[in-house]
């Protein structure tokens, strides 16, 4: 026990952190809730313009707005596609990495690169890879010539080049690029966590399985995956939370217009909030609370399922 006369010292040591948390975390949360329920709160209210009354007006405005519905749909779609794909890929890669001894140091550096690289920069590289040059130069009949490496590869194997992200590209082509990009970007962290989990699994379980005559596939499904389930649950939950906050990756590829057409057709929840934060703070706050609610519910579901499925 800390003696009570020393208590003030403890508080003193904690003070800097507490002050910073109050300013940058606690106060914004209260403020967001406060603003979200002030109907019609906007940039004028900020400087003490019109007085507003409390109510659900901002929430109604937000959900009625078609752009928000698009953003919500995009966000959900990206989550539902990228979380399972990246988790399964990360699991396979982690298991492979774990079984390769000689190059493990080198490989660990390689797979960790995306994690330490700025996501906007990665986005720009991806944009270049999926790019098409000359697609809308000249008339319709003009051959599409490409410089993006992805299309070069497709053409090399005799396929038709695809307009991935440029003007005139389809929604699903855009989504495909986003999924590839987000999955790639999400892999290092997931691999790191799963590899850590794998390395902490007692080797004797594998020895026991060998003596019991277990096939490799059964070892993977019946031993590796269950023993890794706490880490898998963690990776899925944080994956969903990250997925719901997807924003900078879209900016990296499509710019802050959130799409090639200027109609924000690739908008996300956070994109919508960013778009409104300068003028319609009430709506932005309401959207932020809606996003919080969704993340909260999904995380609860995740936790509930993982409690039932993980062995701890």
């Amino acid at each position: 026990m800390v003696e009570s006369k020393h208590k003030w010292k403890a508080w003193l040591y904690l003070a800097p952190a507490i002050v910073l948390l109050l300013i940058f975390t606690v106060w914004p949360i209260f403020n967001t809730v406060h603003v979200a329920f002030q109907e019609g709160y906007n940039e004028l209210s900020l400087i003490g313009g019109e007085s507003t009354k409390y109510g659900f007006g901002n929430f109604v405005d937000v959900v009625k707005y078609p752009g928000f519905v698009t953003a919500l749909k995009n966000t959900l779609l990206l989550c539902v596609l990228t979380v399972p794909i990246s988790t399964i890929l990360a699991l396979v890669i982690a298991v492979c990495l774990n079984s390769i001894k000689p190059l493990s140091r080198f490989l660990q550096t390689i797979y960790f690169l995306p994690y330490v690289t700025n996501s906007i920069a990665i986005g720009m590289v991806f944009a270049a890879m999926f790019n098409i040059v000359g697609s809308n130069i000249g008339g319709e009949a003009e051959l599409i010539t490409t410089s993006g490496i992805i299309n070069n590869v497709i053409e090399f194997f005799g396929g038709e080049p695809v307009n991935w992200i440029n003007s005139g590209s389809s929604y699903w082509a855009n989504i495909t690029v986003m999924v590839v990009y987000i999955v790639w970007n999400a892999l290092p962290f997931k691999i790191l966590i799963l590899l850590g989990g794998l390395q902490s699994v007692n080797k004797q379980y594998y020895d026991a399985a060998k003596v019991d005559g277990t096939s490799r596939f059964r070892v993977f499904t019946k031993i590796t995956v269950p023993l890794l389930s706490p880490m898998l649950a963690y990776v899925v939950i944080t994956g969903f939370i990250g997925g719901f906050k997807e924003y900078s990756s879209i900016v990296g590829i499509f710019g802050d217009d959130m799409g090639h057409s200027g109609n924000r057709e690739m908008d996300t929840m956070v994109g919508y909030i960013q778009d409104n934060i300068d003028r319609w703070q009430g709506r932005a706050s309401a959207a932020a609370l809606i996003l919080f609610g969704i993340i909260f519910i999904v995380t609860m579901i995740n936790l509930y399922v993982s409690k039932k499925k993980t062995h701890y």
């Binding site: 007692n202 020895d207 026991a208 060998k210 005559g213 277990t214 096939s215 062995h311």
Partner: protein, 363 residues
């Protein structure tokens, strides 16, 4: 099924590749384990017992030598295909499975013509569980079991596929003393009931002596002696084996042989016909002493502990290499609590060892 080990050797490469500091874990191990016997593999920690067991199970590849199951050479066969039952030192029960799932697991691995019907598997799982008396715990997870119960589950899991060979790696080392006693009897009973050729690894000599048909004593990867427990106890081939077996341990003295008489200190304590004059190390089992006022061997009496039927006499002697001499004598003997105690020795409980290589000198 008999198991034959032929010049079995395992060398682990040193961590540092530049300086060659290999570890010879098992060296030139040749031994035939008769069908249906329980063999105790005995030796201090780090002497290569586990390595031997892992080589027999197929988890580790020998550096040299051969392993036969019956007449089949299994040296190159992988662990998956050897079909031995192995109980690990820490049991290695799958923590996410119930007891039942753990026991069923080896059966569910069977493929092709060996594949079993679900009811047959469950029946066999229950049979194995009954054998080790855990059939009432089938729905628990390993974390909900005591050490002794976990150990039984591990044995049931090893037995359920009806292996021809059962390997146990220090299975009792995690149990408390009372449970250890009880469980080792149980292992003996199960082994007798099933008739499976069994190798039981332990560093506890009492454990090995009490349940094995044969014991193998190892030291630094080299087999020292093989034989029935009593035989090895009564006839150790070297000082290491003599010291390793027996509680309380054997008493060791500096001595010398002169004119076919054994001297400890200045006293000629025993006739040793046929032994040439030389300095020797003398080992005397605690039960090799007899209180005899006219005896030749005088020691300084320290105290007397009465343990029911027997009396343990603790004394000291200048020539003793142990701090004290422990002798166990019948309580019918009257022990005068004086300064000294005088013994005569039973010659079949006295062993002489060469000063040079600690090997036995017979007389």
């Amino acid at each position: 099924m008999k198991i034959v080990l032929q010049n079995l050797t395992k060398i682990f490469p040193g961590r540092n590749k530049k300086i060659k500091e290999e570890v010879v874990a098992v060296s030139d191990f040749t031994f035939e384990i008769p069908d249906g016997k329980l063999v105790g593999l005995l030796g201090p920690s780090g002497c290569g017992k586990s390595t031997t067991l892992y080589m027999i199970s197929g988890l580790q590849k020998p550096t040299g030598g051969k392993i036969f199951f019956g007449d089949d050479d299994v040296t190159r066969l992988s662990a998956e295909n050897r079909g031995v039952g192995l109980v690990f030192q820490n049991y290695a029960l799958y923590p996410h499975m119930t007891v039942k799932q753990n026991i069923l697991f080896p059966l569910q691995n069977l493929k092709g013509k060996d594949k079993l019907k679900k009811e047959v598997m469950i029946e066999r799982a229950y049979t194995a569980a009954k054998l080790v008396q855990i059939d009432n715990l089938m729905d628990r997870k390993p974390s909900e079991l005591s050490g002794g119960q976990q150990q039984r589950v591990a044995i049931a899991r090893a037995l359920v596929k009806m292996p021809k060979v059962l390997l146990l790696d220090e299975p009792l080392s995690n149990l408390d003393a009372r449970l250890r006693l009880q469980t080792r009897e149980e292992i003996r009973r199960i082994q007798k009931e099933t008739g499976i050729t069994t190798i039981f690894v332990t560093h506890d000599q009492e454990e090995a002596m009490s349940i094995s048909d044969l014991i193998v004593v190892m030291k630094l990867g080299v087999v020292q002696q093989v034989g029935a427990p009593q035989e090895v106890y009564d006839n150790p081939t070297n000082l290491f084996v003599a010291k390793f077996l027996g509680t309380p341990p054997i008493n060791v003295f500096e001595g010398k042989v002169e004119g076919e008489k054994l001297y400890i200190g200045d006293a000629a304590v025993l006739d040793v016909p046929g032994v040439s004059d030389q300095p020797v190390t003398v080992g005397i089992r605690p039960e090799g002493f007899e209180i005899d006022p006219n005896g030749p061997f005088v020691c300084n009496l320290q105290n007397v502990e009465i343990m029911g039927r027997d009396v343990s006499v603790v004394s000291t002697n200048e020539a003793s290499l142990n701090p004290v001499i422990r002798s166990i004598v019948n309580s019918d003997n009257k022990i005068e609590m004086g300064e000294t105690v005088t013994f005569s020795l039973k010659s079949h409980k006295v062993f002489l060892f060469s000063k040079e290589d600690e090997s036995r000198i017979y007389f």
